[in-house]
Symmetry: none
Subunit: 261 residues, 2 copies
DNA sequence: CAATAAACGATCATATATAATCATTATTAG
DNA sequence: CTAATAATGATTATATATGATCGTTTATTG
């Protein structure tokens, strides 16, 4: 005879393992009435361990790939950004210490960082931090700072001071505007100050920017082209732009989307 | 014949080893009445050595994987903690700048902070930050630091430095151990360092601790009783404890759970 | 879209576990 | 040694988990 707690835990395991289970099946399996199974399922659903359906239950969806957040849904160029993130991933080595800027493209990279055995990640993005919080093999540091609700980025003196106190192998940087004349720009002054600080704390600066950023000029300037060692963009960038960027001494990586458009 | 403490330890071991035990089984095994077994189990549960179920007890699960454990989700003292949080809430004024420690009790308070029109909150708890991220009327600052996966608390030099650079009206502090001799203690050294810093940055220190913390001594000491201006606890605290704490010059608030047990 | 069968939630009865209480026994302090 | 205190066991009232029943809701299928 099982205790209630034991049974609930086993039911949760059972469903996670098999992918699904009917109420009847569970009642038979654990030798209790269907009433009891339903009560258990209700409790487990409340604790988010599974989702009930008519007739049974299914595992709760891992937030790995499904259920993109609101920001993600509204995001344009997702395919391109994922491709850029994959290209960025190949630049990271075991044991690296990296600085991860906030932004939707760098967020895609954060999701890919799982699986590293030894990695130190410093970020001002709460969204990125959430993705990596449970990875035991990744040392995760948050810069701290005032939280901007729109982007869940931490900015301001707290962030700047902490970034100033470290040195990293690689910075993965995002931007709103990238222009050969105006340099690197973003709409928000305090975010610009943080990015500027990040650049100064990195041995190698890698810019992750899809083609739509090229030629854009925003309000606050945080760096110039010569700060950038490498730029990763998508294949929709114009050949003319590529030539112009390369002639500024920046290595280019054109990310392949693997056949898909 | 065993001493009480010996028996309790053996019961805890027994359950950890076998994975479960019924009250009957334990009464037989240790040659005591079921009443005594239940009392032992109650004590052991309060100390988090095991979890009671109807009919017996099971071990506390180690949360080795990334999923939130049962323990976290169904916190047995939730009612008390909520009551404590409500009492803490009444101490906060519009326009205050408060420092919020990480922990389950302070997390309850974070959830109640919505609705303030003007409030500055500094916290090292990512969980608390998530609750408040979308409140436009709350200025939210994160301390930054290394993220501890178990508690989602930010600790270490980043956090300490930023905390040291501010001064707040009120600190809402959590603790694992509260003892008139040993003072305030917690299992983790780096968390202790952060808490210690917090105390130094606050004009008024308010301790939020349910009755189970009283008399507990953990590994790392981060403060003494004289640091505390006020303690908020639940009504299950013993009158003797209240008197002892008050004679140490600490104002006491016994949170009412509003009729519910 | 309606008919039908299955699944569901609500409610109740019951068996059992538990908390509260009190008497008794062990332990400690003076 | 005696008084006070704490732990234990027995007893009783309360609380809880469970299974059965039944009216309602939901999915399916012709």
């Amino acid at each position: 005879m099982l205790f209630e707690e034991e049974r609930k835990r086993l039911i949760a395991d059972y469903i996670r393992q098999r992918g699904r289970a009917s109420v009847q099946e569970l009642a038979l399996q654990f030798q209790v009435s269907e009433s009891t199974v339903r009560r258990d399922l209700r409790d487990l659903e409340e604790l988010q361990f599974l989702r009930r359906t008519h007739g049974g239950a299914v595992p709760v969806l891992e937030n790995d790939n499904n259920e993109p957040s609101f920001i993600e849904k509204e995001d344009r160029f997702q395919q391109q950004k994922l491709a850029i993130a994959r290209a960025a991933l190949s630049l990271i080595r075991e044991g690296d210490t990296i600085l991860l800027d906030s932004g939707t493209t760098t967020y895609q990279l954060a999701k890919l960082l799982r699986g590293f055995q030894r990695l130190t990640v410093i970020t001002n993005s709460v969204m990125a931090a959430q993705e990596l919080a449970n990875e035991k093999t990744i040392e995760l540091l948050l810069t701290g700072g005032t939280l901007r609700p729109e982007t869940l980025a931490m900015v301001g003196p707290f962030a700047e001071r902490n970034i100033a106190s470290v040195h990293v192998d690689k910075l993965f940087l995002a931007t709103n505007g990238f222009d050969t004349e105006a340099g690197l720009t973003t709409p928000n002054m305090v975010e610009a100050a943080v990015k500027s600080r990040m650049i100064r704390s990195a041995r190698q600066v890698i810019l992750m920017a899809d083609h739509s950023k090229y030629g854009q000029v925003s309000f606050a300037r945080f760096g110039e082209l010569s700060d950038i060692a490498r730029m990763i963009t998508d294949r929709d960038i114009s050949p003319a732009a590529v030539q112009e960027i390369e002639s500024a001494g920046i290595d280019m990586t054109i990310a392949d989307q693997g056949g898909a458009a």
